[in-house]
Symmetry: C2
């Protein structure tokens, strides 16, 4: 049970966290720090927050848990603004898509109070955003990854983990480095590849003709290229080293496929395609057997 | 109205063509040439075909239209087996995903009878296959691309076009070369990229950990890597030149993004991401409006 929760940012991520904890009866009062007056008004109207705070001082008085759910580039500045008002029992967490950079920013901002910051990343989201997109079920069955620091008290980590479990999430723990390498491979690289393909095609003189014949396979392949350019610019830069390593591995793989194709080596191509098909099917089977409910997927069109 | 239709292959593509023409009342009798006795039995049970033919001679007697819906690599051999029994009024078409190679095989097989062959490619399909997957609505609202030859009589082209329209498809005409270049960009290359990513990840020592954190974005991005490895091996080889050109353009694009990332050039990355996002949105808007998309103008701010 969280007595007083502060959400910094009342959009999809912060708003859904507050709504889920309220729905579970696991939060007393929700205070909001939000720069946008429109978003703040909607968050109060929708019952996401009970209290709008003008200053960090006002927000942090008696706070048990603070969730940073603002753009990840603001983490350092936000933490620096919270620091003077941070009570000893307050725990701060975040929801950023990258963790090494967040940890570095937090260390720089909080200094010897770093133990009060427990880094986190809920693996949930959507292309919609803002308080109107928030809903209590966003995290149900999804993973919430925590990357605790050596300085964290186990009770502080458990306060954050318990809140995510109350939201319906499955809590996983990774090091910040492992987190960033994993998501560089399965999320950040695919975004880069999808953006690259659409831009590549859009830049052609006959782009209109190409798009005219693009079908459902292309639509699914490029869905993630519909995501926010600003957000993915920041993620790419924040996780640059891991993303460069993944990109280089992928470029090597593509160059190897190119050589097979140039040599008309059908057997080698089929081996790669079949290995990929099997691995993907095993992954889907594991998800199905495993647990987390996935939305029904449109397979045919 | 097609008096006698022969489908060579009674799977998803050939079976759905027959069912759609029957549903539209646009075919008299459907004869099937099918190597698999199981598939043939199901095609008769499901009413896809009215008649199972043991030989091309039996099938082609009085045929008005023949659809080749067998693996594209068999086109040449199939046409050679049909040639001795091809009546002067019969028109043959196909449903292969590549066209230059099909045209070359058809020319080699049919010689001076090439005018009776009208190459085609319906842009529809699914991961399911076989006669049980066939249904009358598969082609509704989808494109059917014809790539007529100089030797084709306009009436022969119109017989094929009319049959696709009766199936509910929108008939488009392209040259075989344009067809292959277009689909190399919007279909064949994305398949190669998706297979490459899944195989790249599956080959890692910590593949299990990576797949554990792959989420819905990854699932959509890699859906096409669930397709038949044999079929995509054949398509890759059949359309090798165009696919190599597309792959090289994409590799250049990726290398350019790599340089932006290495230089931490956030502005350049965001420009590419934003251009891709806009182009994709314009494409989706055009689909929704039901009109062919205008060539997206690339913003180079």
């Amino acid at each position: 049970m969280i007595g007083r929760l502060v959400i910094v940012g009342t959009g999809l991520i912060g708003g859904s966290f507050a709504l889920a904890l309220k729905a579970a009866g696991q939060v007393g009062r929700v205070a909001a720090l939000e720069r946008s007056p429109q978003a703040l008004a909607r968050a109060l109207e929708r019952g996401i927050a009970d209290e709008a705070c003008a200053t960090p001082e006002q927000a942090l008085r008696g706070a048990d848990l603070v969730l940073l759910a603002a753009p990840v580039g603001q983490t350092g500045a936000l933490l620096a603004s919270l620091l003077p008002h941070l009570e000893p029992h307050t725990v701060v967490t975040d929801a950023g898509s990258t963790k090494c950079d967040v940890v570095a920013a937090a260390r720089a901002a909080l200094g010897e109070r770093i133990g009060q910051f427990v880094p986190g990343h809920p693996i949930a989201g959507s292309e919609a955003n803002g308080p109107d997109a928030a809903w209590a079920g966003l995290y149900g069955g999804k993973k919430a990854v925590l990357t605790p620091l050596p300085e964290n008290d186990p009770a502080a980590v458990e306060r954050v983990a318990g809140a995510w479990r109350a939201c319906g999430a499955l809590v996983h723990t990774l090091s910040a480095g492992d987190h960033d390498r994993v998501f560089a491979a399965v999320s950040h690289l695919p975004h880069l590849l999808a953006y690259a393909l659409v831009d590549d095609i859009a830049a052609r003189p006959h782009a209109g003709m190409l798009f005219q014949y693009a079908a459902s396979g292309f639509r699914d392949f490029t869905r993630i290229a519909g995501s926010s350019p600003e957000m993915w610019r920041d993620i790419s830069l924040a996780n640059r080293d891991a993303l460069l390593a993944e990109l280089d591995a992928y470029l090597a793989q593509l160059n190897s496929l190119r050589a097979m194709l140039a040599a008309a080596d059908g057997r080698a191509l089929e081996t790669v395609f079949a290995s990929a098909q099997r691995a993907r099917q095993a992954w889907l089977d594991a998800i199905e057997a495993g647990s987390p409910p996935l939305p029904p997927h449109r397979d045919t069109e």
